[in-house]
Amino acid sequence: MGTIQFDDVSLRFAGGARPAVNRVTCQVNSGEIVVILGPSGCGKTTLLKMVNRLYEPTGGNIFLDGVNIRKIKATKLRQQIGYVIQQSGLFPHMTVADNVAVVPKLLGWGKPQIQARIDELLELVKLPPGEFRDRYPAQLSGGQQQRVGIARALAGNPGIMLMDEPFGAIDAITRAALQDEILRLQGQLKKTILFVSHDVEEALRLADRILVMRLGEVVQFDTPFNLLTQPADEFVYNLLGADDMVRQLGLLRVASAMMALPPNYSNGHNPTLSHLDSLRDALSLILKTGAPALTVLEEGNPVGLLTLDHIRESAVAGPGAGENRR
């Protein structure tokens, strides 16, 4: 549930000198977070808004779970897709509860079901319902508004979430907390998330894969690890700041560099760490303990092994990337 397929998708706005989105073909798999990354004006928002038909492509097709979205009524389609935007777009005349209830009401849910859903979602985004249910958006901080925005987008239980720079206008500390929140929620909910950002750190933190765009075209679509180690060209290399190794290690998750457990793995005396920890955490753990390898845990169960060599491989920019660019 929740595969998005772009098939040769283009959009040229009336009067536009060049297409805002030019011949994009790619597939976002069910349950993954894909961050669309690129400089301002490169077509990220345009690409995103074609998925819920706020814009119609002038060329190509988009499929959700194999169904061409042109065949789905626009309002029906949008009710099945969560949508979060930068300025939250909360309805100022509605309470937090009423904001969250919008899509369930559109979907025709019963009253008790909607009430239960509101409380469930407010708990989920860590806004205690008792305190926040009856507040108006003007009575919330920017970060709280965005939490409500996320709860509202999740309300109809969509398989897909579209998020357009949702944390763009939020201070750095709150933004980091909200990013953690997204990762935590995603661990529970396993949505397909298409997330627009122009912030590299955010992209590296959140993404399973990053779609790098430039002038309306996809430059590279790969995992953070591969983007850093094998950037397709100078543009990607510079965009990601791939020349700063320490920073890079701090941004990559352990899971991106570890190897699978060997079949004969027996729980040795390796130090352990979480798959969500950064490679910098791993490096300091190796240096501190002197152990040859670390065991990576996911929810307490071993899922992989990490050695100094794995970390070194991640830190060295891939073939053709490093040498001639210094």
Binding site: G89, P92, H93, Y136, Q139
Partner: protein, 211 residues
């Protein structure tokens, strides 16, 4: 003041005439202003000439405007009511267009992105958000209408203005004072009622103040 108390039936009759003129003119004016404002919002090029035309109407003295209308509608309340409608248009249309234009575009985009239809967006988002602004316009229009209705007495339309003009004609000072007080009281009461309605229409502001 004593005249108001000593002649309750006469004053009441005049008050009802006054209210009737004000009510009818406001009703017609709103029914006209809403589509005009929507049209001006939809067709951008229309906004400037429309507001300009209505603005010019507003600068014509009310007495002169009613005199223009008498040949068309007769020496009666209709001419006065038409003048009131024309007068209040500029207030209502402007408040409504400004109110609609003032809605945060992010809110409208969210409404669209969540799958609301055009009519759902109108009734659930746009109407509640412009209502306070629109009601503020209605309140000002009502005061203007009450003032013009006072002049209506000169044109055989009755209303509280009759006390004033009769008083002037017969040199009855107490009647003049009674007329002036009655009109002022009416304006104050209507203003207060509409202000309360405005307040009621924006729960988010009401709560914000209590924080």
């Amino acid at each position: 003041m004593s005249y108001l108390l000593s002649q309750p039936t006469e004053v009441l009759t005049l008050l009802l005439q006054h209210l009737r003129m004000t009510g009818i003119s406001l009703g017609v004016a709103i029914a006209l202003a809403v589509p005009l404002a929507l049209l001006a919002t939809r067709l951008r090029w229309l906004a400037v000439p429309l507001m300009g035309g209505l603005g010019i109407l507003y600068t014509i003295p009310s007495l002169a405007l009613i005199i223009f209308l008498v040949p068309l509608f007769g020496l009666n309340a209709t001419s006065v009511i038409v003048a009131m409608v024309l007068y209040t248009q500029v207030i209502l249309v402007r408040n409504l267009t400004v109110g609609l234009a003032g809605i945060n575009p992010a809110v409208l985009e969210a409404a669209r992105g969540m799958g609301m239809s055009v009519s759902q967006r109108w009734w659930r988002v746009q109407v509640p958000l412009v209502l306070p602004v629109f009601l503020a316009g209605v309140r000002i229009a009502a005061i203007v209408a009450i003032a013009i209705a006072t002049i209506g007495a000169k044109f055989n339309a009755g209303g509280l203005g009759k006390l004033l003009f009769d008083g002037i004609q017969t040199n009855r000072y107490d009647k003049i004072v009674a007329g002036a007080i009655a009109v002022a009281l009416l304006a104050l009461v209507i203003n207060g009622l509409l202000l309360a309605l405005e307040h009621y229409a924006q729960p988010q502001r009401r709560l914000k103040k209590t924080l």
